[in-house]
């Protein structure tokens, strides 16, 4: 059997911009920010006091007592997004399809909030026991396993953890599984719940966080802002999707992954450019075909400068004709979940012809001299979009999508 084409037939999300795809798409197209003040009992001990929190989500209304005991926030987000993705795909996984369909989830820190909460009790209150379900609640594969149980997905199931590239790696591997014929459909994406006290403190320590806002590509940028939530998709064998008359949101056409093999935190222009090259090459596309890039665009000095240089290296003269925006300016950096939420911006570009802007853009930076779609969304006819993710550890993962 030859390689299959891969269709995206379902999408779901929960993040700082909304609890589903339509509300997130509306915010992305309006350039509306979901970043705001953090609400934390120990707020006065934090120097970073802003973030892209999910607001108005009441887990107790969605999940039973037993489920709440088993679901860390990252699992709750993942399940919420997966439910929307599966429902919108119209697929029914009972029967033979469910035997072969699977799940690949990306997450950076998994159940870190559960760890923080429970280990905190041991150290702070000198208690000698924790809740008996801490292990199955905190483990990184909890979200993927619960997705499989709720939707009857009995094929390949694993979790990928490559820091800020986790969900792009997860979706790239799901793409390969469907493309090779190993699975007819995969639920895939990423989830992150990074706002534990210890987690925020750890990020503060690196000195890369902004205290006042995420301003990617702007000369005035001063760091990243965290976000939380999940994005999930259904990737499906194109023939299978077409045969049932599914509404195909976009086609996944290429995936490139590389390792810088150079530095644990500083990104490499060359490693990022090679990942872009690899994604386009697998898709059989030239840079001129790409209309939109969803940037990694963290808003740190190092990432944005390096990413723009990488795009110039990979695109050559075509770099001047491509639009590139960072939606992290609106939803924050969801770390292991970020690429999944950002894929929604790529689908919006392809399907709706709306390019999400880079908001909070104040002043051009000569080191970021690309068309960063400042502040206001744009209408454009886009045939191909790519989504960049460049993680700490020097791990790069780029997905290429084509309009269906």
């Amino acid at each position: 059997m030859g390689l299959r084409r891969v269709a995206i037939t379902g999408a779901g999300t929960i993040n700082a911009l909304g609890h589903d795809v339509p509300s997130t798409r509306a915010a992305l197209s309006e350039g509306r920010s979901g970043i705001g003040p953090l609400d934390h009992p120990d707020l006065e001990r934090l120097s970073i006091r802003i973030g892209g929190r999910v607001r108005g989500f009441d887990p107790e209304a969605s999940y039973s007592r037993q489920e709440l005991l088993l679901y860390d926030n990252f699992t709750r987000f993942a399940l919420h997004a997966a439910a929307e993705a599966v429902a919108s795909s119209g697929l029914d996984f009972s029967g033979e399809l469910g035997e072969r369909a699977g799940v690949v989830v990306g997450t950076g820190v998994g159940g870190a909030e559960t760890l923080d909460e429970n280990y905190g009790v041991l150290f702070r209150e000198h208690k000698n026991r924790v809740h008996p379900l801490v292990i199955p609640k905190m483990m990184n594969n909890a979200a993927g396993s619960h997705i499989s149980m709720l939707h009857g997905l009995k094929g390949p199931n694993f979790t990928v953890s490559t820091a800020c590239a986790s969900s792009n790696h997860a979706m790239g591997l799901a793409f390969q599984l469907v493309r090779s014929g190993a699975a007819p459909a995969m639920v895939t994406g990423g989830a992150e719940a990074p706002f534990s006290f210890g987690g925020i403190k750890a990020w503060e320590g690196l000195r890369v966080m902004s205290r006042d806002g995420c301003r990617p590509f702007s000369k005035t940028r001063n760091g990243m802002v965290q976000g939380e939530g999940a994005g999930m998709f259904v990737f499906e064998d194109w023939e299978h999707a077409a045969a049932r008359g599914a509404d195909i949101l976009a086609e996944v056409v290429g995936f490139g992954m590389t390792s810088d093999a150079s530095d644990i935190v500083m990104p490499s222009e060359h490693g990022a450019a090679r990942a872009i090259d690899a994604a386009l090459s697998e898709a059989g596309l030239a840079p001129e075909n790409v209309g939109y890039i969803n940037a990694h665009g963290t808003g740190t000095a190092a990432n944005d400068r390096t990413e723009c240089a990488a795009v110039r290296q990979a695109f050559g003269p075509a770099a001047d004709g491509v639009m590139i925006s960072s939606t992290k300016s609106m939803h924050g950096h969801l770390l292991g979940g970020t690429g999944a939420v950002e894929l929604l911006a790529c689908i919006m570009a392809l399907r709706d012809g709306i390019i999400a802007p880079t908001i909070n853009y104040e002043e051009p930076d000569p080191a970021c001299d690309l068309d960063v779609v400042p502040n206001v969304a744009r209408e454009a006819d886009v045939e191909v979009a790519i989504s960049n993710a460049f993680a700490f550890g020097g791990l790069n993962a780029v997905l290429a999508l084509r309009r269906a």
């Binding site: 690196l206 000195r207 902004s210 001063n222 808003g299």
Partner: protein, 88 residues
């Protein structure tokens, strides 16, 4: 004349740079001493712990931080300022 702030800052930087304190002069930049970006955030952490102060430093915008890291001498003066401010 002994200078506790200077001696402690030099000791911290020397340890990170794997040098003797006597190898370090006030005119040296961290770059001269082979301290990279991770070494810099480590040295700031060590300074905060040693002097029980909070150092306002953002690695994204070192030039616009209130904390001057342009040389060892500048760091010593910045720490002196923060220690004095803490004593009020």
């Amino acid at each position: 004349m002994s200078d506790d702030v200077r001696d402690k800052v030099v000791e911290i930087i020397a340890e990170l740079a794997v040098l003797e304190p006597s190898d370090i002069s006030m005119d040296n930049t961290l770059e001269d001493l082979g301290v990279d970006s991770l070494g810099l955030v480590e040295s700031i952490f060590a300074i905060e712990e040693a002097f029980e102060i909070d150092v306002p430093f953002n690695a994204n915008a070192p030039e616009s931080s209130e904390f001057d890291i342009s040389s060892v001498g500048a760091i010593v003066e910045a720490v002196r300022g923060l220690v004095a401010a803490k004593k009020g």
